[in-house]
């Protein structure tokens, strides 16, 4: 693999990405434009996350990659193998052993610790896009903190469904200032963003934006005073490990309509089962 630089990208590109990350960390929740590169995977598969990971990864890092909480899906396996070949770093599926976690759509159930970095893959970074299609205007709205329209969306949800029906990519306010899309994680994971000990980095490859939540930063999910923010609850435990406090996926197990609720975090679920044996 000597034909490629460490972590695939050339050093100048990595410097450019790191500069954007530094700015993003300095202004929590602010979307920093960066010169997104063509990556050897298609848009929507994590080009932003891969570039951020390539920007911060070092030879001593231990990498974990998850997709919807699972370590063994195509996207996770491909990206993990990509970095294993391009950097030679150690990889792991154990959350607490990893120093760098790239994730799509979940935050691991195992609590994060200080010193870890989580990289999120972001499809659409702009939280105001739903109501305002003009980029120049959304930037101005961010600059002037004109965030009233975000609540129009919640208002519509309550009006139509009797509650806030937005279940993923639930908008948050970072450090009392910028409104941010936390990428399509379930709102179940939103409380984990608040004062997280780990550094959270967000990369959007197609939209060419990087943003960040530094460790211990307050992150508040938007809500109404009389409709406070709530997370999903299930009336059954995980059908495999029996966990009552993890995010559950519904899987169909046979062709007679049999269903099973299981943890979406495969590492967490397997390790709980091992402990029970």
């Amino acid at each position: 693999m000597s034909a490629y630089n460490f972590a695939y990208l050339d050093e100048q590109t990595k410097r450019m990405i790191r500069r954007s990350i530094l700015k993003a960390v300095a202004i929590p929740g602010y979307q920093v434009p960066f010169g997104s590169r063509e990556m050897p995977l298609s848009y929507g598969w994590g080009t932003g996350g891969v570039q951020v990971t390539a920007g911060v990864i070092g030879p001593d890092d231990v990498l974990k990659v998850i997709d919807q909480g699972a370590d063994d899906t195509t996207n996770a396996v491909s990206i993990r193998r990509f970095f294993a070949r391009m950097t030679g770093v150690k990889t792991t599926t154990r959350t607490e052993d990893a120093t760098l976690i790239q994730t799509r759509h979940r935050i691991p159930e195992t609590p994060l610790r200080a010193g870890q970095i989580v990289v999120f893959q972001v499809p659409i970074p702009e939280p105001l896009r739903w109501l305002e299609p003009r980029e120049a205007e959304t930037r101005k709205m961010h600059a002037l903190e004109e965030y009233g329209v975000m609540h129009v969306r919640l208002y519509e949800d309550i009006t139509q469904h009797g509650r806030v029906a937005t279940a993923y990519d639930y908008p948050v306010r970072v450090n009392g200032r910028y409104i941010m899309r936390p990428s399509p994680i379930p709102k179940f994971d939103n409380p984990k963003l608040d004062r997280s000990p780990a550094l959270l980095l967000f990369g959007a490859g197609r939209e060419k934006r990087i943003y960040a939540v530094p460790p211990w930063t307050p992150v508040k999910s938007l809500d109404f005073e009389d409709h406070p923010f709530t997370i999903e609850k299930w009336d059954q435990p995980c059908g495999v490990c029996g966990s009552r406090d993890s995010f559950l996926d519904e899987v169909i197990v046979d062709d007679k309509g049999g269903r099973l609720l299981v943890c979406s975090d495969t590492d967490y679920c397997e390790r709980r089962r091992e402990d029970q044996r």
């Binding site: 109501l131 101005k140 002037l144 004109e146 009233g148 329209v149 609540h151 129009v152 208002y155 519509e156 309550i158 009006t159 139509q160 109404f224 005073e225 009389d226 409709h227």
Partner: protein
């Protein structure tokens, strides 16, 4: 205490390259007063309105606005942030086409509530209560509160837009052809509503229209514009019944009598 004008405009000029949008406009608008701006298409009425409401940047002139706390600001000098805050709290703009002023994909209640949420309301029940209140004031049945504006008739859309504008109790309302595109009976009802709202809420308003009947019903004073300049101004009855400038005479005599 000597009352101060709410809005005081001096030497307002907007050029589009070599062409003139409006030239050296000056007037005072007093609290509770409705000022009509009439003239033919292309006379600079809408340019003037957009310059005043901050949607266009004039080339020169000054627009002094006296704020709620009594201080006077020049709208062309204050930072954009302050201007946009005033636009959310103290002004409202009623567009000719309700589609420009409403969010067509958001329910009627959400449309009315948006300005409340924009100034910091965070209690769903209270926002909805105020929305229902305002729907009633503009004569929209309260059971339509969750319907989308696309399902409303043109007249209802226009009334919804007015409710959306007035919910934060602005002191100055800009109206751009508020009755354009509506049929005669709906127009009459809307004018009636506007007249009573303006009187009840002690609003000041600037109404741009090419329809002299609208101007006569709503406005206390008129500015007649031609080619970007004010050619005549005065009390509405005076201007319409005894026009002095040849262009005003032409405008008044062009009205069809049914």
């Amino acid at each position: 205490m000597i009352p101060r004008p709410l809005l005081s405009v001096r030497g307002l000029t907007k050029r589009y390259g070599q062409r003139v949008g409006c030239l050296d406009i000056g007037f005072d608008l007093w609290p509770g007063e409705v000022l009509g701006v009439v003239g033919e298409s292309g006379s600079g009425k809408t340019t003037l309105l957009h310059c005043l409401s901050g949607r266009l940047e004039p080339n020169s002139g000054s627009v002094s606005f006296s704020q709620r706390d009594g201080s006077v600001v020049d709208l062309l000098q204050v930072p954009e942030a302050a201007r946009r805050r005033l636009a959310r709290t103290d002004w409202a703009l009623v567009h000719q086409n309700p589609r420009d002023g409403l969010r067509m994909g958001v329910s009627a209640g959400g449309n009315v509530g948006e300005r409340l949420m924009g100034v910091g309301a965070r209690h769903y029940g209270q926002i909805r209560g105020q929305a229902l209140d305002w729907l009633e004031q503009v004569e929209i049945p309260q059971d339509r509160v969750d319907d989308l504006p696309v399902e409303f008739s043109g007249g209802m859309q226009q009334r919804l837009q007015i409710a959306r504008c007035l919910v934060t109790r602005p002191r100055l309302v800009f109206m751009d052809e508020p009755t354009g595109g509506l049929d005669a009976s709906v127009q009459a009802r809307l004018l009636d509503l506007l007249r009573s709202l303006v009187a009840d809420l002690h609003l000041s308003a600037i109404v741009v229209t090419h329809d002299l009947a609208v101007a006569r019903l709503l406005a206390h004073r008129l500015l007649v514009m031609k080619d970007g300049e004010v050619v005549e101004s005065g009390l509405t009855d005076q201007v319409l019944d005894d026009p002095q400038h040849p262009y005003s005479q032409l405008l008044v005599s062009s009205v069809l009598q049914p």
